[in-house]
């Protein structure tokens, strides 16, 4: 509970007088799952990470939205150091250790940490040089874009974190280095919205939405309901939090006070450190923190975060989840569970709409940078 109390999300919950019990439960289960994961790997693999090879987890465990016995574990062994053929062996040992960790849940044997999806994006090795150097262009594959964006928007290392921190910093720097100007031309005393980073976040969101259709085709409509619900909620959440990070660079008055009139390079470092600090938060914490820091309105925050709490509640409900997993697009039109998904996601969207299109500070930035 102590850890939860430190999160901006739960500080805001207290301030607004809301009760987000499902989010609190998910937070608590995520903390336990992270500890268990590290303990399992230390016991079965030994020193599974080093200063140059870190285990990074993504998805619900990184977002602290872990649902025990339901959530998948998306992970990669991130390499930022000398080439070494043993890295693959370690990745395989991690995978094997996780496969062996089985437990009984409701009379059923289930892996403690379910395998990642079948795309090959996770459960394998990831390399820093690709993430850093292949931004845009022919070689920036869907997998590379996904790993890079999730590294920034929803990731956390398990165990040592030096390589993880180096790579995240390097990627942020890379985005900022490509900006011709960091400051607004008209005033010179305010950071611009970092367009290159923002455009890639927008691109990632569009890619996820397009891939939703592509994956449905590839998988013959399997898990349509569940995937659609996630697209409406958790995928949209990380897109929104990414946009807020970029907009905060322009709107946060405390950051503007640091601007140096002498050095472009040092301004880049100030901005990079600011973004780095922000991306260390979970997406929900970014929303909560921005709501406070940028004055986005408590009513909108309560609407969208309460909707998200309901979503986590629904994902925790075995029966609802099971129905969503087998639901086709056609069935969703009349299914009452999916009717709930629609209602919750509309509330979530209404909160986001208030943030991005009604707030007088965010609205002009959303129109200028988020749409075109």
């Amino acid at each position: 509970m102590g850890q939860s109390a430190e999160r901006p999300l739960f500080a805001l919950q207290q301030k607004l007088g809301c009760s987000w019990g499902y989010l609190q439960k998910a937070d608590s289960e995520a903390s336990q799952a992270r500890r268990d994961l590290q303990a399992i790997l230390e016991e079965r693999v030994g020193k599974f990470a080093s200063e140059d090879a870190n285990l990074v987890v993504f998805g619900s465990l990184a977002r602290k939205e872990w649902i025990e016995s339901e959530s998948d574990l998306d992970w990669t062994l991130l390499i930022d150091g000398q080439a070494n053929s043993r890295h693959l062996r370690i990745a395989r040992e991690i995978r094997s250790a996780l496969e062996k960790e089985i437990r009984e849940v409701g009379g059923e044997s289930k892996p403690r940490f379910a395998e990642p999806g079948p795309t090959g994006t996770f459960g394998n090795l990831g390399f820093s040089h690709q993430l850093l150097h292949l931004i845009g262009g022919q070689d920036d594959t869907n997998k590379n874009l996904t790993q890079r964006m999730l590294l920034l928007l929803e990731s956390v290392p398990i165990g040592p974190r030096s390589a993880y921190d180096r790579v995240a910093r390097a990627v942020i720097d890379r985005y900022l280095e490509e900006e011709a100007q960091l400051l607004e031309a008209e005033s010179d005393n305010r950071f611009k919205v970092p367009r290159f980073l923002l455009k890639d976040i927008v691109r990632f969101w569009r890619t996820m939405a397009v891939d939703f259709a592509s994956k449905q085709r590839d998988r013959g409509g399997k898990e349509w309901g569940l995937r659609n619900a996630k697209l409406r909620m958790s995928r949209k959440l990380i897109f929104s939090s990414g946009m807020l990070i970029c907009f905060a660079c322009n709107l946060d008055d405390n950051l503007q006070k640091k601007i140096s009139t002498e050095s472009h390079d040092i301004n880049l470092k100030y901005l990079a450190n600011y973004i780095r600090e922000y991306v260390n938060l979970t997406p929900l914490d970014i929303l909560a923190d921005s709501a406070e820091k940028l004055g986005l309105g408590s009513e909108a925050a309560a609407t969208l975060l309460s909707a998200y709490d309901e979503f986590i509640g629904m994902m925790s409900d075995k029966d609802a989840r099971s129905q969503l997993k087998t639901m086709s697009a056609r069935e969703s039109r009349t299914n009452p569970i999916f009717g709930e998904v629609r209602r919750i996601s509309k509330n979530f969207e209404a909160g986001l709409h208030s943030f991005f299109f009604k707030n007088q500070r965010l609205k002009p930035l959303t129109e200028k940078y988020g749409v075109f």
Partner: protein, 240 residues
């Protein structure tokens, strides 16, 4: 002009007199007497009175960086034999009895660590260390900071927070295996990003292990460091 010199350990492993002789032919006006291994401390203490240190406006001692726990007491007992005005550059992971080290006050000069060490790499790590050693000063190893975060974002955080304690720099390129190499163009470029944040009266000690230990090679590395720390751009250093 900023005081710049060398670590004796970088110039002549375990032979500080030989290193000082080499430096006597250069413009070095700062030196760090290296006793990085615990068996080097006693010989250094006994040789002090005979060392030729007249050319140096700044002298420090690098205390052993890797010790067996029982040696901590021996180490602290040797400290009173070192001149009071010399900084005692120390790796935080050798400290066990914190209150005894805190009693050294500002002379105790804590260095930020490379990626191999479990503590002392980041501003956040150092904050915890200085909370236990509130009077200690700080030696920024710019090569370590660059190795931990090549973008130098962490170095900016460290300098911003601990500039008031900063009494010495360590300068070199620290490679992926944590060896101290001569400053490359990439490192020079990175160091230049933060050089203007470092006060001019903070002396710099080079730790580069040069391919040749001639007077000319040592002087060239000193000159290179002076130019980087004076804010000469990396491309200018490369002659572009």
């Amino acid at each position: 002009m900023r005081m710049v010199g060398f670590s004796t350990g970088a110039l002549a492993y375990g032979e500080f007199e030989k290193a000082l002789q080499l430096l006597s032919g250069t413009t070095a006006n700062a030196v760090e007497l290296s006793a990085l291994r615990q068996n080097e401390l006693d010989p250094l203490v006994h040789a002090l009175s005979g060392l030729a240190l007249g050319q140096f406006g700044h002298v420090s001692v690098h205390l052993p960086s890797s010790i067996v726990p029982e040696f901590e007491n021996t180490l602290l007992e040797a400290v009173p034999h070192l001149p009071n005005e010399w900084l005692l550059v120390t790796h935080p992971d050798v400290i066990r009895t914190w209150e005894r080290w805190e009693s050294l006050g500002e002379r105790l000069c804590i260095e930020n660590m490379d990626k191999r060490k479990p503590i002392g790499q980041t501003a956040s790590d150092l904050r915890q260390i200085f909370a236990r050693l509130p009077r200690a000063s700080f030696c920024l190893d710019i090569g370590h900071a660059h190795q931990v975060d090549p973008t130098m974002g962490e170095a900016v955080l460290i300098i911003e927070e601990f500039r008031g304690r900063l009494r010495q720099l360590h300068v070199s390129e620290v490679n992926s295996q944590s060896k101290h190499d001569p400053i490359s163009l990439e490192s020079a470029s990175a160091f230049s990003l933060v050089s203007h944040l470092i006060p001019h009266d903070v002396p710099a000690i080079l730790e580069s292990r040069l391919p040749s230990f001639s007077v000319a090679a040592v002087e060239a590395e000193i000159e290179s460091a002076r130019r980087i720390l004076d804010g000469v751009g990396a491309l200018e250093l490369a002659g572009d």
